[in-house]
Amino acid sequence: MENVQQLNIKEEPEETLSMDPVKFILWLFLVTIVMLFASQSSAYLVRRAEGNWLEFQMPTIFWYSTGVLLLSSVSMHWAYIMAKKDQFNQLKLAISITFALGLIFLAMQFEGWKNLVDMNVYFVGNPSGSFFYVFTGLHGFHIISGLLVLIFAMIAAFRLKVSAKNMRQIQICVTYWHFLDLLWVYLFVFLLTFN
């Protein structure tokens, strides 16, 4: 809304086409995801403030999985730079590494759930545990959607359809993946701070 207001102030005449519509759609989609998690976070805080809140230590594996996801963002960006430079072999390698790291992240999150169960923190029970599962589960669901986007980009990369002149797909993929990474870092810090 604020953006819109700013645009309104600008004096004409000027070019009306400001951005690639598909990328614009992606950014708006990210806004909806932000709102989804913002509402969950506020629900979490409101509920936590009411007391009767089970406190538990976050299993250490979530630290490692955070590292894995951060690493995947690095390799994703490597893929992006390689695509820009038309280095196809390195692009293929980097994008495959990203995909593998994404899968490893998911597996580690699942392992984390198992650790939680071992600690007697269940999905059904005190809302503090339920919220933890919902947060990680919702994020995991979005990671799966990110992996699907990644698969399409990977297929395109292996068919040599991604190049310096044809960057749209990989740009969308990179934006989404970095966003999911950032989202997890936020959730991780949030859950760590308000456990």
């Binding site: 809304m1 819109v4 207001q5 645009l7 309104n8 600008k10 004409e12 005449p13 000027e14 070019e15 009306t16 086409l17 400001s18 951005m19 519509p21 598909v22 614009f24 759609i25 708006l28 989609f29 806004v31 909806t32 995801i33 709102m35 989804l36 913002a38 509402s39 969950q40 506020s42 629900a43 409101v46 509920r47 009411e50 009767n52 809140w53 999905f123 059904v124 029970g125 005190n126 809302p127 339920s130 919220f131 919902v134 919702l138």
Partner: protein, 626 residues
């Protein structure tokens, strides 16, 4: 199911596609990616839903106004819900109230109003070939259709549809034991709404992207018609608030099906404690109303936008305070997000917090009043043409003002203690949001019918429809305020067993009669609408002598809207009755260099910039990769 019927009725109306590759029946009428066809699909589906939703209200109004009457004649439709003695089943009464609310708020006034006119008008008025993503647009409609099917199916369940009120507060909605409708009916309600949210997000993302990126040459933000501003702001509201509803629905689904306790705590049923501990039902209300309040404006703003356009056109005057109109819509949209707790004054909220929300709520009166005054000053001394669209727009302003005034009373946290959940609230929001938005919908249909179907609706029937509806609406809702002040709680099955309600039974009977009267009037519209699609008078190029771009397209625009180039835009859309001009309107695509006789000094200076506009990118999505 309902929309297939609608789509088929459109099919019989032949359209001329001239410059585009031929499409088969399925591509053209069913899985269409053309924004105009999708708009018509939304409109017809919305109309079918409106008939169902309003019929439900008439049935429960009969129960309220004539509690002793024998309803056996409804047995062919309602079957087991009418008892052998001709009484409406009390559980089904709650289901009717719930479904009426859900259907009218979401399926008619959100999807039917915003879906129809955002889709139809955004590309036509900003000068675009189509939406940014036709495919997403199609998906949006079909997700809505899927949501419609599921909601429609839930009506036929043996245990009845959802019955916890359209706000589905837990624990009533979370525990299947609490009510027959809280079982399968509630499950289907939640599923349907999840699809509905997806549909709205797909649609909204598309609307925003299209408005921002696909405007034609010269269509700067300060030349956008107010309709487009309204649709843009509506879509932004939806984009921000619908994910929150999804969030609350998601947690409710977890509580219902997986045994979590987000909203449930310390509940005893038949003396037995439920295992759920630690949840908070108030949490749901916070999440729900964070959507729920913006939803009110999602419903209303498109109606206000349509009204701005229709009133300026038919008063033959520029809209008064164009920038103030935009600013007030932005103000309303901003405030919409920080007033949600005024729905929860009596939940045991901290009184100080209540005062804060009261203060913020009352501030909404300021931008709303700006809009009200601007409409009235636009009408002032105009050469008013009383087309049916114009009548409904003026009616909207009237309803918006009279419904808004009671909002000032309800927004007061102290007065709300008496009025909360009474018929006063029902009367308030039906006037300001329900009837006002419905009037916006009617205004839009009457005004843009010629562009949609290439034919005119019968104006005499339109005026008859307006006056019956207008009188009927006030006859229903003004007495309802009194009933509410007297203390009638909403959603009660009958009022015969309380002493204080006895003397108001006549008034309830009157309200019911008025409701039936208004309901009857809608059949005039239905007849006029469907008859005119096939047999109406053929529309001229620009029937209302309007300035906006959609009237520069062929009478029945084909896929891509304009043959040849998209017109460029040189002026705002409200140059009506300009002193010195040959005619009393100058369309947006006429450059200032052609209207030297009517230009103001600063507009003469703009002539120099016309070359720049013409030199700009065509912004034609059919000619670039998309």
């Amino acid at each position: 199911m309902s929309a297939i019927v609608g789509a088929e009725s459109i099919h019989e109306h032949a359209e001329v596609h001239e410059h585009h590759h031929s499409q088969n029946f399925w591509q053209k009428y069913i899985f269409s990616e053309d924004h105009k066809m999708i708009a018509k699909q939304y409109l017809i589906t919305g109309i079918v839903w409106a008939v169902i939703g309003i019929s439900m209200s008439v049935i429960f109004r009969i129960q309220l106004g004539m509690p002793d009457s024998n309803l056996s004649w409804l047995k062919p439709i309602l079957g087991q819900w009418i008892s052998d003695s001709g009484k409406l089943d009390p559980n089904f009464f709650l289901a009717l109230v719930t479904m009426h609310g859900t259907i009218m708020v979401f399926f008619v006034l959100t999807a039917g109003l915003s879906g129809t006119f955002s889709n139809f008008l955004i590309p036509l008025q900003i000068g675009a070939r189509d939406m940014a993503s036709g495919f997403m647009n199609m998906l949006s409609y079909w997700f809505f259709f899927l949501a419609s099917i599921i909601m429609f199916a839930s009506i036929f369940l043996q245990t009845g549809p959802a019955a916890g009120g359209w706000v589905i507060y837990p624990p009533l909605s979370a525990l299947p034991q609490s009510h027959p409708g809280s079982g399968m009916g509630m499950t289907l309600w939640l599923t349907s709404m999840a699809f509905f949210i997806v549909s709205q997000l797909l649609g909204g993302i598309n609307y925003i992207t299209t408005v921002i990126n696909l405007r034609t040459r010269g269509m700067s933000f300060d030349r956008l018609p107010l309709t487009i501003w309204a649709f843009l702001i509506t879509a932004v509201l939806g984009l921000i608030s619908f994910p929150v509803l999804l969030s609350s629905v998601l947690l409710l689904i977890m509580d219902r099906h997986f045994g979590t306790s987000f909203y449930l705590s310390d509940i005893y049923i038949n003396g037995e404690a439920l295992p759920n501990v630690g949840g908070s039902p108030i949490l749901f209300q916070h999440l729900f109303w964070f959507l729920g309040h913006p939803e009110v404006y999602i419903v209303l703003l498109p109606g206000l936008g349509i009204t701005s356009e229709v009133i300026a056109t038919n008063a033959r005057k520029p809209i008064f305070g164009y920038r103030a109109m935009i600013a007030s819509m932005l103000g309303i949209a901003f405030l919409a997000f920080i007033v949600w707790a005024h729905h929860m004054f009596v939940t045991g909220m901290n009184p100080f917090l209540g005062s804060v929300f009261m203060f913020l709520t009352l501030i909404i009166a300021v931008p709303s009043a700006v809009k009200g005054f601007n409409y009235i000053t636009t009408l002032w001394r105009g050469n008013i043409v009383f087309t049916p669209g114009m009548l409904f727009s003026i009616g909207l302003v009237s309803l918006f003002v009279s419904g808004g005034l009671t909002g000032i009373i309800l927004g007061n946290s102290a007065l709300d203690i008496q009025l909360h959940d009474t018929y006063f609230v029902v009367a308030h929001f039906h006037l300001v949001m329900g009837a006002a938005s419905a009037f916006g919908l009617f205004a839009g249909v009457y005004h843009w019918f010629p562009k949609m179907f290439g034919r005119m609706m019968n104006p005499t029937l339109g005026q008859l429809h307006f006056w019956m509806t207008f009188i009927g609406i006030y006859a229903i809702f003004i007495p309802m305020h009194y009933v509410g002040i007297a203390g009638f709680p909403r959603r009660y099955y009958q009022f015969t067993s309380y002493d204080f309600t006895h003397k108001f039974m006549d008034m309830n009977l009157f309200i019911t009669s008025a409701a039936i009267f208004s309901f009857t009037a809608q059949f005039i519209f239905l007849w006029n609408f469907f008859y005119s699609i096939f047999k109406g008078k053929v529309a001229p190029q620009n029937p209302w002598k309007s300035n906006t771009l959609e009237w520069t397209t062929p009478i029945i625009p084909g896929h891509g809207n304009w043959e040849g180039e998209i017109p460029a835009v040189y002026r705002w859309s409200y140059d009506y009755s300009k002193p010195g001009a040959k005619e009393d309107f100058i369309p947006q695509n006429i450059p200032y260099s052609q209207t030297l006789e009517s230009n103001f000094p600063h507009e003469n200076e703009l002539i120099a910039s016309e070359k720049d506009i013409e030199a700009q990118n065509f912004n034609d999505q059919f000619k670039s990769a998309h």
